[in-house]
Symmetry: C2
Subunit: 342 residues, 2 copies
């Protein structure tokens, strides 16, 4: 019988709401921006039910804590911090990418302007950090709290390193698979890795186990991002909520494109290169780009890479020999990463 | 004989440079943005000598540590973290305020674009946080490091609270002195307060002394911001590097303006109100605004308030009975806040 995720999500939601709470009425408009972004409120502050993200990262943290033999509730502050770090980075990314919508809703900066948007992201990040000190209230000693705080701060720096590379890749057609690997290691894998690592740390795992689980989260993150890249080109618009081949239209330098450009260059060709350098976004140009990716076998190649990272993750998990429901749920989550539809 | 600040500034500079250092060459362009902002590099990354900020906040931290009987070098990581938090907030403020220059140099976002600018600020903030863990290397126990980290995180949240109010005051002519007080408490006083508090904490002061020094930094911060407000209207452009009455031209809602608007309203008048609501920036409009501020006695009023906060700070300092060179230097710094020319 699969583990029921509901109790984890309910407890996480309560923790998040306790953290993201205006200390006095004068600051309520700022906190409404954050509540709106988190899916709890309408733009006017009115309560909303339902719609929020997948909560993949905090679930990984809680399940890892339990899988190594810890009490998952004692990891809730770290799980909440990780989800808030993820969301702070989304608020800033939406400004940096000039994105007007996210999951079909207007982005924070689009509703409240760029200045309030940047500041709202900064505020959410501050709250994420303050969440970490709640671990003390769960009985964790100061050096454990410090170890978690430090890992999360190192992760935030890695996010910025990855984001810097991502932005600087724009308009460049010479990005290598190695460059790309450094970019997604920071931008995506670091936070998933710190989710499993902090879960293990708070569950009382020994250092080698924490390290193994950190690597496992890293592999999962790479598989996750490569799948995202596949969905950005071949995802079903009805399911992803984005336009067809949206990453090609935006000329994003994702792994399938990097692969196809390299394949072309090796053959002395430059059709995709020329299309990517052009501003064309009509159906004909789109079809031509997709045909080049098809000819290069880029979809199959990237899928293969994603499956390989997923496999490395599952092998690492198996190697730890954790025979319990939480470990099986981690396995199930990992299996759902590649092949997901959104 | 006044205390020589040079050894403190030299050691601080070394600490800052050790923290803001690219971990691998691929990230050098990001770190060059940070080095540029800190005054160490030209836009192309070439080393620069000289020009940097006043370093008021880290000096307050180091001197307070020494004044309470601590070894100031052991507070260097916290002093560096505080200076980096200040600078991260400047990078984001420059974007939020649409400022093209700072101290006569192009701002980070103006040189590298808004996306890289936001991300560079985030990276500097991450580095500030990571600096705090260097306190462990100075022999401070985990609970002291946690106490410093927590205070700095609370300060960052207060900065965001203050910044939210500041942005939301734009275009509003009904801002009260109480609203203004909440805004500058977060935007300016919180960081000066955490400079003195963390210095005291790391110097081994007892909790009541830490609290007293935190309040002292808060008072100093209020006096500092009020003086800034005075300089934004009556500062000498040749010294401040800004245009004459720049805050009036930008319609900033600073304390002298709030005072004059209230004075007007009490008399049933609305000349400044009408001018502030208009888009006029010609010499005639400027002269008319200055005349209203003069009639209301706003310059004298704000100066009096600044002096009162400075006095409260000096009284608190005197009350602590610290008879040493560092305490005298703190007093000298405080005396220089009001009446400074830039």
């Amino acid at each position: 019988m699969p583990l029921d995720a509901a109790p984890y999500l309910v407890a996480l939601d309560a923790e998040l709401r306790a953290i993201v709470s205006a200390p006095e009425p004068v600051h309520a408009p700022l906190y409404n921006m954050l509540r709106y972004h988190l899916g709890w409120a309408a733009p006017d502050g009115g309560a909303l039910q339902g719609a929020h993200g997948k909560r993949l990262r905090p679930l990984l943290c809680l399940l890892t804590c339990e899988a190594v033999g810890g009490a998952w509730r004692r990891a809730l502050p770290a799980a909440a911090a990780i989800e808030l770090i993820h969301n702070f980075s989304l608020i800033h990314d939406d400004i940096e990418d000039d994105s007007a919508t996210r999951h079909g809703r207007a982005t924070v900066w689009k509703l409240w302007g760029m200045a309030q948007g940047i500041n709202a992201g900064d505020a959410l990040w501050s709250l994420a950090r303050l969440a970490v000190y709640r671990l003390g209230g769960q009985g964790h000693p100061a050096d454990t709290v410090l170890a978690v705080a430090r890992r999360l701060d190192e992760t935030c720096l890695a996010l910025c390193h990855g984001q810097h590379l991502d932005i600087s890749f724009e308009g460049r057609l010479d990005v290598t698979e190695q460059d790309y690997g450094k970019m997604i290691a920071g931008k995506t894998a670091a936070l998933l890795s710190s989710a499993t690592a902090t879960g293990a740390l708070l569950g009382g795992a020994a250092a080698p186990v924490v390290d193994a689980l950190a690597r496992l989260g890293h592999e999962l993150g790479l598989a996750f991002q490569m799948t995202d890249d596949l969905l950005g080109i071949w995802g079903d618009p009805a399911v992803t909520g984005k336009s067809a081949a949206s990453d090609l239209l935006a000329r994003k330098m994702t792994m399938p494109v990097i692969h196809a450009l390299r394949w072309e260059a090796a053959r002395g060709e430059a059709q995709l290169h020329a299309l990517y350098a052009s501003a064309k976004t009509d159906d004909e140009a789109l079809a031509a780009m997709l045909a080049r990716l098809e000819a290069a076998g880029s979809q199959a190649y990237v899928r293969q890479q994603a499956v390989a990272h997923q496999g490395a993750m599952l092998a690492a998990l198996g190697g730890l020999g954790m025979e319990n429901a939480a470990a099986r749920e981690l396995e199930r989550l990992a299996l759902g990463i590649v092949g997901r539809e959104r």
